[in-house]
């Protein structure tokens, strides 16, 4: 068997694949955070809870009504996104213009509530969700086995990420968004409904998290606490990429997944800490993050 640095090629590529998949999730989640932070200056500590809601809603919809994966892929993010809009409308709006720190504290409280309530209902042991038949099995690439579902996750996550980046950075709608958050009074004057724009942006960021949750449902164990630790990792990813940088969030997300996977292969004890380690190193040399713009 081919060995690379003392590790069998199949093991290495397997870990790399897991790394890329985790990276795809990090990218989706940090992208949502970056959209919400970059455009609205809200630190969304409830992001992990929204990711979890996406997965949980998928499972619950299936158990209660037999809603299949493909429908859930659209319905769950929409439901969770609508929930996000309610939170924006009833809670976050009231502290708009205050110190950003209050948004962090408020969403932290919201996350505690959501996670705590659902833990009481569903417990902390994982809920089962079986993958759609279409994705059973995989292909042998010669040096490794690639399950279809994992390939699908990578492709669809990248597509969504790229699409989001494109809309925000390259289209007129994106320009409105960026302008509306830059100078909301001016945009109001042009007849653009900025509060609605803010609600929709928050809802969209939340939808991205929930979408990641649906993708995660068949491969990770779905529990009410699944988001809370992922969230901290994703925050580190956003800091490394440069807060508010949309492209930076995507690239860093995937990169960090891969680095985590490689660490797991070569030095497992450090695998959960390596991202935070990278963050410290990056901050020492580039305090604004890898892709951050200004100070």
């Amino acid at each position: 068997m081919t060995m690379i640095f003392g590790v069998p090629l199949a093991v290495l590529s397997g870990q790399l694949l897991i790394g890329v998949i985790n990276g795809a999730f990090y990218a989706l989640l940090s992208l949502g955070l970056a959209v919400i932070f970059g455009l609205l200056k809200i630190i969304n500590f409830a992001h992990g809870a929204m990711y979890m809601l996406g997965a949980l809603v998928t499972v619950v919809l299936f158990d209660l009504m037999g809603v299949n994966y493909w429908v859930a892929l659209f319905v769950a993010p929409l439901l969770v996104g609508a929930f996000g809009i309610l939170i924006e409308y009833f809670l976050l709006r009231r502290i708009a213009g205050q110190d950003h720190i209050y948004s962090l504290l408020l969403t932290f409280g919201v996350a505690l509530i959501i996670q705590g309530v659902l833990t009481n209902i569903y417990g902390v042991s994982g809920l089962r969700y079986s993958m759609p038949d279409l994705f059973k099995g995989g292909i042998n690439l010669g040096f490794m086995f690639l399950p279809y579902y994992r390939a699908w996750v990578i492709v669809v996550a990248l597509l969504v990420c790229f699409g989001t980046w494109f809309v925000i950075e390259k289209t007129k709608l994106g320009a409105y968004l960026r302008a509306g958050t830059e100078d909301s009074q001016l945009m109001q004057g042009f007849g653009i409904n900025v509060p609605l724009l803010v609600s929709l942006t928050y809802g969209f960021g939340v939808m991205l998290a929930a979408f990641a949750g649906v993708l995660a449902a068949p491969i990770y164990s779905v529990t009410p606490v699944m988001g809370s630790n992922t969230l901290i990792v994703v925050f580190a990813v956003v800091v490394i990429g440069g807060m508010g940088s949309i492209g930076g969030a995507i690239i860093t997300g995937i990169l960090m997944g891969v680095i985590e996977g490689l660490t797991k292969t070569f030095y497992p004890p450090a695998s959960s800490a390596v991202i935070f380690l990278v963050m410290v190193v990056v901050l020492m040399f580039r305090p604004n993050g890898l892709f951050g713009k200004e100070a």
């Binding site: 630190i43 809670l91 009231r94 502290i95 110190d99 950003h100 720190i101 209050y102 962090l104 504290l105 408020l106 932290f108 409280g109 919201v110 996350a111 505690l112 509530i113 959501i114 996670q115 705590g116 309530v117 833990t119 009481n120 901290i232 925050f235 580190a236 956003v238 800091v239 807060m243 004890p269 959960s272 800490a273 935070f276 380690l277 963050m279 410290v280 901050l283 020492m284 305090p287």
Partner: protein
Amino acid sequence: MNNSVNSADVHKAIVAQQKSQDRKKMMVNGVLLLLLLAAPFALYPVFLMKILCFALFAVAFNLLFGFTGLLSFGHAAFLATGGYTTGYLLSNYSGLTTEMGIIAGTLAATVMGTAFALLSIRRQGIYFAMVTLALAQLVFFFYVQSDFTGGEDGMHGIPRGKLFGVLDLEDNLNMYYFVLAMFIGCYLLVQRIVSSPYGQVLKAIKQNEPRAVSLGYNVDRYKILAFVISAALAGLAGSMKSVVFQLASLNDAHWHMSGEVILMTLVGGMGTLLGPVVGATFVVNVEYQLAQGPLRDWVDPILGGIFVLTVLAFRSGIVGEIQKFIKKNIG
């Protein structure tokens, strides 16, 4: 002529008022002190000590957040480092007296605080919060994997030992008065810091950092020192906590603990001296009362609700709102 006599009178009146206010404050403090001294005869001392440890933790955090405007989301790291260091030393070196163990724990947290401060000081606001959070997470993973911490099981059976080799701390009453003395000392220290010229600079930084810079203050140095003092006191709280409970657990290092101390400070009233103490008392009590009753499983959502309510409706916290009320109605 007439005018100057008048202003002298006014001055006298102000001094007299100041004096009577000081006297009132002294009286309030005296009553509080008496209550604290008598408390262990009415309430379970270990519970009181828990409150005091968390109150110290919150006071330490508030020095940074409430007075300097730096939101650290990683203060659990210092609490845990103090606890683990003291616990490890007292468990493994029987010759060590308790106060030496506590000093060592405090020092360890101080060193870690210095490292955190140097790394995070370059960022501001929420960026700063994120950096401290990530650093604390690094510390958390270190403690999960280290053998000496007992990993998920925690560190058990830490001996309380004898204070100065004489006073037996196994006795809850002795232990209580020791913790109380430490707490009061630290509280007075923070009070002193806050009202000193140094504290004024910290408040200036909080209000308007660019202005403080333009006044010629080396803002970073002030912030780093505030961070280090805060980390040291948080470490001390953790050290004492591990001695009181004879236990140091991973809970103290988890980022939820960093969130909890924010909640305590916020609920009590950040930027006030007494606020964090009231907040810690409140939160510890809520958690304790809930844990006894049928709402046992609802502690987290209820705390979350308190968080949301505080941020939305009474951002000045309990003490801050009372102060506002007094100012408005009594003058």
